[in-house]
């Protein structure tokens, strides 16, 4: 009986030891992340920054291009040796209130990526634009510019920290045509998912 009692204590200790290490880490804020892969948003895609006056019933469209200051970006930080898959899911309309006819404006989102390990200012100049209609791409975190492919990445092991690099995803697009819609503040979202 004495031996059985000791077995019980050992099992309990094992469970207590293992339980904390599977806990989730959740960060709330604009840093949607964790240590391995993170994505930081620059700001809102504001069409008034391109055209201050967007008039109802003007039947015009407003286009923010990659080269415009209004173009926004997401800074992706991750393992330089790995590939990432980016999926964007934009709302088809910017809406006011509950949306629907008279309360929505068509919205088309486009994106471009830059994965040469450049700084932000240089990254925009070498960004690769994705043709319209695509919503998902897979690319290396750091694109090789010349030479043969590098050897396979070093496997993760104790004490080893893989090299980190930044890649950029630029977001822009077109709003319109602006039909006979209510005046006011229209919003929509572009959800971006990045994974190894």
């Amino acid at each position: 009986m004495h031996i059985m009692s000791r077995r019980g204590w050992v099992l309990a200790l094992t469970l207590l030891t293992a339980s904390p290490v599977v806990a989730q880490r959740i960060n709330f804020g604009i840093y949607t992340t964790s240590q391995g892969l993170s994505a930081t948003v620059s700001g809102n895609l504001n069409f008034n920054a391109k055209q201050p006056i967007i008039a109802s019933n003007s039947n015009t469209s407003v286009t923010i291009t990659l080269n415009d200051d209004a173009c926004q970006w997401i800074e992706i930080t991750g393992d330089a040796t790995r590939d990432i898959t980016i999926t964007i899911t934009p709302d088809p309309y910017l809406t006011i209130g509950a949306g629907g006819p008279g309360n929505q404006i068509p919205f088309t989102c486009q994106f471009a990526y830059s994965n040469l390990g450049s700084t932000l200012s240089a990254a925009k100049g070498v960004a690769v634009q994705i043709p319209g209609g695509f919503t998902s791409i897979t690319l290396p975190m750091l694109r090789r510019t010349s030479g043969v492919p590098a050897p396979p990445p070093t496997p993760a092991h104790g004490g080893y920290t893989p090299p980190s690099i930044k890649a950029y995803l630029f977001l822009y697009g077109t709003l319109g045509p602006v039909g006979n819609v209510s005046a006011g503040y229209y919003t929509g979202t572009v959800n971006v998912s990045v994974q190894y």
């Binding site: 031996i3 000791r6 077995r7 050992v10 099992l11 094992t14 030891t17 293992a18 290490v21 599977v22 806990a23 989730q24 880490r25 949607t32 964790s34 240590q35 391995g36 892969l37 993170s38 994505a39 930081t40 948003v41 809102n44 895609l45 504001n46 069409f47 008034n48 006056i53 967007i54 008039a55 109802s56 019933n57 015009t60 407003v62 997401i74 934009p90 709302d91 910017l94 006011i96 404006i105 104790g158 697009g173 709003l175 602006v178 819609v181 209510s182 005046a183 006011g184 503040y185 229209y186 919003t187 929509g188 979202t189 572009v190 959800n191 971006v192 998912s193 990045v194 994974q195 190894y196």
Partner: protein
């Protein structure tokens, strides 16, 4: 048996460390960008006061209404998007018709305007002016001008219309 459970404990600790290493690195990140636009409605023009052109004489002073300082000047208010640029277009010449329809006079408009309701601080507008609405999205206009063609004037009431076209400059 005791030795067996010691091994089990050791294995559990190793497994736990491995799980910690895996959970410490996220394989996925999600971000959301908000797209936005503020849409403005039509720019509106409200008549605050009609031009009062009662002639007591045909002196040159009576025939002319200075929009910048004459109390007889008409007054209008433009309402639109704050700080927006608006193009103001109007016909410079107009015809006043007698109420019976027989006689007519000619009127050359002068408009002045400003973001504040202070007539003497308003500036004269040309036929095709760009103005900027105030922080509150308003701009005031004063309407004056000069009558002509009074040689064969018939007493009575005369009417005319002033058309002003407002357009946002995008």
């Amino acid at each position: 048996m005791t030795r067996f459970f010691k091994y089990l404990l050791a294995i559990s600790v190793v497994t736990g460390s491995f799980a910690q290493a895996q959970s410490g690195r996220s394989n996925r990140a999600v971000a959301t960008i908000t797209a936005s636009a503020t849409v403005v409605g039509n720019v509106d023009l409200i008549v605050m006061k009609d031009m009062d052109y009662e002639l007591s004489s045909l002196s040159p002073a009576d025939l002319t209404v200075n929009p910048q300082n004459d109390s007889r000047a008409g007054q209008m208010k433009i309402i639109g998007s704050p700080n927006s640029l608006v193009r103001v277009t109007f016909e410079r010449q107009s015809i006043l018709r007698h109420e019976s329809g027989g006689s007519q006079l000619y009127f050359a408009y002068n408009l002045s305007g400003g973001p504040d309701l202070i007539q003497r601080e308003s500036i004269l507008l040309t036929q095709n002016n760009q103005i900027r609405l105030s922080d509150q999205g308003v701009y005031y206009l004063w309407v004056g001008g000069r009558l002509s063609g009074i040689e064969n004037i018939v007493p009575g009431n005369y009417y005319m219309e002033l058309s002003i076209e407002l357009e946002y400059i995008l």
